[in-house]
Amino acid sequence: MEHTIFILALPLLSFLILALAGMKLPHKVAGTIGTLSLATVTVLAYVTAAQYFGAGRGADGLFPTLVPYNFTWLPLTESLQIEMGIMLDPISVMMLMVISTVSLMVHIYSFGYMKGEKGFQRYYAFLSLFTFSMLGLVVATNIFQMYIFWELVGVSSYLLIGFYYTKKAAIAASKKAFIVTRFADLFFLVGILFYGYYAGTFSFEPDVRLLFSAGIVIPVALGLMFIGGAGKSAMFPLHIWLPDAMEGPTPVSALIHAATMVVAGVYLVARMFPIFIEFAPQVLHIIAYVGAFTALYAAVVACAQTDIKRVLAFSTISQIAFMMVALGVCTSDDPHAGGLGYMASMFHLFTHAMFKGLLFLGAGAIIHAVHSNERDCMGGLRKYMPVTHITFLIACLAIAGIFPFSGFFSKDEILTACYSYAPMMEVFMSGVAGLTAFYMFRLYFLIFWGKSYYESQLALFEKGRIEKKPHTPHEAPAAMLIPMVILAAISCLAGFIPFGEFITANGEAYEIHLNTGVAISSTLLAIIGIATATIMYMKGQNKVTLTMKVRSKKFIQAAYHRFYMDELWLFVTKKVIFRGISRPIAWFDKHAIDAFMDLLGSATQTFARQIRTFQSGNIQSYCIWFLHGVMILALILIFLV
């Protein structure tokens, strides 16, 4: 497994080349460097996976945890040290595949999407940086390495969201994304510090006795770490950065904000899962409730969005919440007895990465075609973009959980896991799944069906109402279509991967079997959702939709504004922190502390000016003072001494 080092080294190398010399390279060369290195990484990742899983299980029936590289990067205390290395176990190998696949797709796709953009080389440099950091994150041998790459991932996300750095919204979004996740990372860091102190190590396999003796601190530490994960994975109420992050180029949204980085939180919880389940099952359940609420919240909000990327963003939030729920409902690490969620979560992570990546790439193709994010500018596109249409439909079916697309299988496992934890949870999550189907198909119909915006514009143009001839939507170039088709194929087929064979909570093989009741009920709900969407949106705005809109105007308004969460955060940051704390502190510094120092200065000066008049050169006053002094001295000497 020595070649794994190249999985990390190549993207880093290509980042360095592109960052240092990129501006001088032609676009094509820069893109090729990035893509080639990523292709090699992908091949290596698959080779690694083949070797790893091909080697089979060890004597104990588990896949071994391999650590081909590990060295001490920075010794801190006698016991604690930051190590850097590569660790291979089932989930990290799976993540390697996911990341390299999606990343490669995005690299290829970007050739078409970003063609001719200014800063093309920079874009590829950042992509390489991101891929490097994300890969480093998943193969981390210890929590601190994870944190380091976690930060790097955050910064590459920041750079990529702010890629269009002349756009105001992009600047604000990138800043917001970084600061919100940084805020969450603070908790992550504190959690790590607690964990490190009590476990005596940063590694994922601490001395259990030490953890037992630490008592309540470990659940607290794990909870804090989860907050960090919630920040990256956009759990309520730290989700606010993700919709705004859609200001970045769409392929970036596909890679970072749909497939890979945002699931880092899930990955973190999965990574720490043995410790969670052993020492803090209650924290896991809190995670489940947070996840369930987030799933519902995001699904509802997604129904009311008009910007197609925002819809996808909220759908991402909702789907990640599904994964969190799946992890949270685990009650043991045995997949047969309450530990199914772990596998389900990882499975969903895998399938979701594919179909959500596909959705974003499709959205990118559409945006590329109509030059807008707003669904009002779309409609009736199926004629113009057949391939995009088909792949998008596949992705929608997958996310809605329709047999035999991959989403069906993974979502079904999640719901089964929920059911084994609490039937109510299952009902609730199935409802959210139905809602998912609804809003995805709403989106689908609004884009591809209904009245064509282009045609209506064209009609207006011909009548002479508008001056500019509207831009004809066109199918995307091959560089964009190929990745979409590949991902669509994976989305179709991934469900049949015997996932339980490879990844389970305790490492033992688990054969996925469908829980028929759950499967049927969830499929039914999904179909209901799709049907509703079909009725409401297939033929454009019809009566039902309009009455619904009028009836629940307030609610829709609130959902459109994401239930005013952004306004709340804005209030907290702008009004409370900036105006309420920072300004007063700056004022206090200037007018109290600094003024006090100035006062010392001016008091000295004033005093000096006052006593200067004593030194007036006027002998008479000298004498008066002298005589008074003499008198006082004389009186003292005569009467007191």
Binding site: R612, G617, N618, Q620, L627
Partner: protein
Amino acid sequence: MIPAEYYLVLAALLFFIGVFGFFTRRNLLGVLISTELVLNAVDINFAVFNAYYFPEHLEGFFFTMFAIGIAASETAVAIAIILNVYRNMRTIRLKELKKLKF
């Protein structure tokens, strides 16, 4: 025989009247006049101490004499300065003489 204390009290009175004048005068000549009073009072004391307590030697006597001499020279110089100041500044009021101040 007049008691020595009478002379001393008189001298003290003169002395402090001189001091008072020295403080309150606003004019160089006035200040100088007050100084003369002070000197005078001291002269009286010298003479009285000599005459009453140590008549065998003439120390007080001579001190007074020298003091008178010195007072004379001092006054001469002082008045010369005052005249000079007046010639340059056209005033001898203390308030207005502040060219050397600060």
